[in-house]
Symmetry: C2
Subunit: 626 residues, 2 copies
């Protein structure tokens, strides 16, 4: 570059001014956005993009680049401005900010090649950054990860989950920066500019913490150097800044969050900023990373053995088969990693730990961070299985939502679903997990009923590219399928059928066994029913459902160990209701209680008795109508 250190500082100050100008212009053109939140971060972003980070501006997604996560996603315009300034696209394109036909959205999404994970829900960048840092460590890449946070978001608990886990894993290739601009959206933050409080907190959580003036370029460069030289622990740079810094008349001023300047005001403020430009900024050239080649990941998972379970032999829980399958996957594919929320001995993911300890991450009781780490790992080519009791995945719903927006290739395994867990009681029962994952339109949802299909579901989840949820039960259940049985995403199984079926019962998981009991009982009294093991809740097997419903006289009953709204029944109904085929849902309709599994299945009305009663009723009704 031929730059002296004085030159470098001038370059970076010029770039910071340029970032401010571009952020103001873009938000004013859009008529919405957060120019003051960009302005406080201008020197930080300038130092990172134009001195600290090693990256190829023409290959923004290269695995060799240092990585940047904008956790304060509302400052998106400064991120876009930095990439324009680095030469990835023309500056004029910034004026398309927030338009339908532009991928420069209000908050960053991975539609852009330089964004790993969507941000805009605060407090998510740090967990994601840990995942990216761990992926680099696993791949032995000399990649550093920078996460820029706002100060307001430090109130989010997920930040402290990440703070503890990052230091626990000693991810020293991770450097976070808090842009401490003192002002939240609707008022000052709790800590404001009391920088010592931030320092004490982060140090207590095991970080190397550095307090700097966030508008002082040499101080920032020193801090980033210090971070690079710190081993064994992550570093946080606590940058004291002013919101609206450099925007004449708007510095450190309340009431200017998420507000744009009028055209006239923008030109006035930009005019003042432009006078500060020295031209030195144009002398910047990028620092390219060492080339290590793209990730050498296989295109598909390796050969895995057939499932080891045999119909008629001893009962096995689907969660156990999940653990067994993960262990097989550990050996078959180096991309597969598993994360746990301190229940590995219940979810059986300890089997993965035994097989591949270097790819197992204990996430402790911190489900948001576990999910965020998975998001970072998935963004960097790993196939993470985030696993815990399904009810506690609800803790991470906002992360799951952002993972869906990011369309990441991550997997969730949720165990201990429904009232069939028994004695632990309602706090441990997942009864809303299908509603949660099902709402996200791009999630694949598999719900195996026996060990063989649970093994298959786990393999299919690993193979399928895209966000996937596998729903798993606690009790041991009979083996229905032999190891030769083929399962597919999007395919249901008709497991009982005759030539004159009077009703169709659709079930999955524990209720499939209730449906089978109902089949046997009804058969004794001369009523044949057809039984479907739904297996794949999304995509749903429309063809099989429709054909079976028609073959069974258009009388359909669903039965599930889940609350009535947003569950399996609604998924089936959405296929059949538009065809005018009646669907009778049997599901949990009240808050359950502790008890023995089978007692609860009876008490809360999802047993074979409930199925039999409903079948009799709809068959009688249609006989009367005929």
């Amino acid at each position: 570059m031929g730059t002296t250190s004085a030159n470098l500082i001038q370059i970076l100050e010029d770039k910071a001014t340029r970032l401010r100008i571009d952020s103001i212009r873009a938000t004013t053109a859009a008529g919405s956005g957060h120019p003051t939140s960009c302005a406080s971060a201008a020197e930080i972003v300038s130092a990172l993009f134009f001195s600290v980070m090693r990256y190829d501006p023409k290959q923004p997604h290269s695995a060799d680049n240092d990585s940047f996560v904008l956790s304060k996603g509302h400052a998106a315009p400064i991120l876009y401005s930095a990439w324009a300034e680095a030469g990835l696209f023309p500056r004029e394109h910034l004026l398309t900010l927030r338009q339908l036909n532009s991928d420069l959205e209000g908050h960053p999404t991975p539609r852009l090649p330089y964004v790993d994970v969507a941000t805009g829900s605060l407090g998510q960048g740090l967990p994601v950054g840990i995942g990216i840092a761990l992926a680099a460590r696993m791949d032995k890449r000399d990649q550093r990860v920078y996460v820029l946070m706002g100060d307001g978001e430090s109130a989010e608990g997920s930040v402290w989950e990440a703070a503890e886990i990052a230091s626990n894993y000693g991810v020293d290739n991770l450097c976070a920066i808090i842009d401490v601009n003192r002002l939240g959206q609707s008022g000052p933050t709790m800590v404001q500019h009391r920088m010592d409080i931030y320092r004490a907190r982060l140090e207590a959580f095991g970080w190397h913490a550095i307090v700097v003036n966030g508008h002082d370029v040499p101080a920032l460069l020193n801090a980033f150097d210090d971070a690079k030289n710190t081993t064994g622990k992550p570093t946080i740079i606590l940058a004291e800044t002013l919101k609206g810094k450099g925007m004449d008349g708007y510095e450190d001023k309340e009431g200017w969050h998420g507000k744009t300047l009028s055209q006239d005001e923008a030109e006035r403020v930009v005019g003042i900023l432009e006078k500060r430009l020295t031209g030195e900024g144009d002398r910047w050239t990028p620092t390219l990373p060492e080339k290590r080649g793209e990730r050498q990941a296989p295109a598909s998972i390796g050969a895995v053995p057939k499932s080891p379970y045999t119909p008629g032999e001893k009962e096995v829980a689907t969660r156990k088969a999940f653990g067994d399958a993960l262990q097989a996957l550990a050996k078959a594919d180096p991309r597969v990693v598993t994360l746990d929320g301190d229940v590995k001995n219940s979810t059986h993911t300890d089997e993965f730990l035994a097989a591949a300890p270097e790819r197992f991450f204990e996430g402790y009781i911190a489900e948001q961070n576990m999910t965020g780490m998975s998001m970072g790992l998935a963004a960097r080519g790993k196939i993470p299985f985030a696993t815990t009791f399904a009810c506690f995945l609800s803790r991470a719903f906002d992360f799951i939502r952002m993972a869906a927006i990011s369309n990441l290739n991550l997997k969730f395994g949720g165990t201990h679903v429904g009232v069939s867990i028994g004695e632990d009681g309602p706090s441990q029962m997942a009864l809303e997990d299908i509603a949660m994952f099902g709402a996200e339109p791009n999630f694949t949802i598999l719900y195996p009923s026996d060990a063989t299909s649970a093994w298959a579901a786990t393999m299919l989840a690993a193979e399928h590219v895209g966000p996937t949820y596998v729903r798993l039960g606690r009790p041991n259940t009979a083996i229905i399928y032999g190891p030769e049985e083929k399962f597919q995403v999007g395919k249901a199984k008709v497991i009982r059928q005759g030539s004159r079926d009077r009703a169709l019962v659709v079930a999955a998981g524990i209720t499939l066994f209730e449906a089978l009991k109902a089949y046997d009982e009804l058969k004794k009294s001369g009523i044949d029913i057809r039984v479907i093991d739904l297996f794949s809740i999304r995509p749903i097997d429309r063809e099989t459902l429709l054909a079976s419903a028609r073959a069974a006289g258009k009388r359909v009953i669903t039965v599930e160990d889940h609350y009535a709204h947003g569950g399996l029944g609604d998924a089936v109904q959405s296929v059949l209701a538009a065809e005018g085929i009646p669907v009778y849902k049997i599901a949990i309709t009240e808050i359950p209680h502790s008890g023995k599994p089978q007692e609860l299945i009876e008490k809360f009305g999802i047993s074979s008795k409930a199925v039999i009663a409903k079948v009799r009723k709809v068959v009688e009704q249609s006989a009367l109508a005929a």
Copy 2:
């Protein structure tokens, strides 16, 4: 009591031994549960229940009692044992633990009169405790609140959200205790017994922190005294303990989480414990609280003015009407409190702040804690409105789930729903909130479409007893209803109808206006449709939907600004599908993008055009079929 201090210590040690014995016996009888997690807390619980806390054992829910929250809910047996020991019910009843016909469930629920809020999902007790402590402060009751946490749960971010907020509000009537027994479910915790780390963290978060040996009764009593004498900040007692303490052969031993002793082992271990009993414990008498009378809360909300909006006048957003209504409620009912996640200037809850600052709690960007505080406030007779952008309520789903299990009288106001927010992009759009709240079977869900109905929905939410969600939009919209219009929970409005309607369109919120546009357009081409403003998603107006569907030829279309699974369409379908009435859902089916609200409504297929096309199609199809 006539006790000397030496006597007192002997009493408490006896009680602790008794609690261990009872916890072991109960879990062994149940065949499941967590005896070792009870044993580590025995001296802490003994000190609290038999010396520190002032309460009437015969009136466990009295508002004068000091309050106890068992955040580590899996230690439920020791809580039940303490109340048995205090004389509320016979010891034998403990042996019904975890049975279907007993309310001594696996984890505590408010089915028990001495439980305010269900626990069992870790990390929730501290936020709840803040709410209870704030309620006591508002009521000027000299009530102290004790929250017993496990050490594993300190990994949950919600604990740190609560830690920051509790010190920010200076709730010095709150005392938390961490039972630092070193062992989680599946392995040691991250911090183990490094007590100085806990101390440094809590002190950095503004707490008075005291480290003690958690099995040393005099040390515990001193610590609780110290807590009582601490003003201006909350206190945390960091109690170093051993898991399984006092259980011969099980102390500090890995692999014994959530495992019960065999009958023989239980008797052996209990035999050893019984030898330690001195009989002093039987000399205990309770310390009754000062009587201040029960809460003087009104039975219903006070008189509120009619809504101030007039059809045909300027457009008003439903979120604005929500803020206006909350302001009116602030004046009408002293029980109403409002909580915000640093977006009060967007949700318009700043109007409540202006009217009743002493009942407004800024929750900052920490939605889990905001919800937990609301749970505590609701448990103590307040009517809390927890409010933020609806998408960020997903952050609190696990708390919402536990609030449902607790059947609390709390209210959520979620604003900025759907693609109609526009430019901010998908991260800020709530498109899964109906699925989330709707899954919980006891939540009432109101979805007003204009300012008048939003005002009414807010009033109805305050009046209705039970958990309630109000769904609110960002854009300004026309006023449909005049101030005389009556709204009811569970009642829809037929707002367009004729004598020969060809289809029924059901909508709410922004899509109601699209349905009305479709009505006008279709009318021009000679097709009459019926239009329903659903207003109440749960309870749903089955009668009106069925009658209208039949009157409109059993052709029903739903249209909503929400994802397709678990939304308004599924709620309508669940009423009509069992009657064989076809329902065609129009909803968001892919991840959206930034853009102008109306552009997005068009692009993502929920506009009047989509409604018109669907109506034409179903009308044509049925004409062909006829």
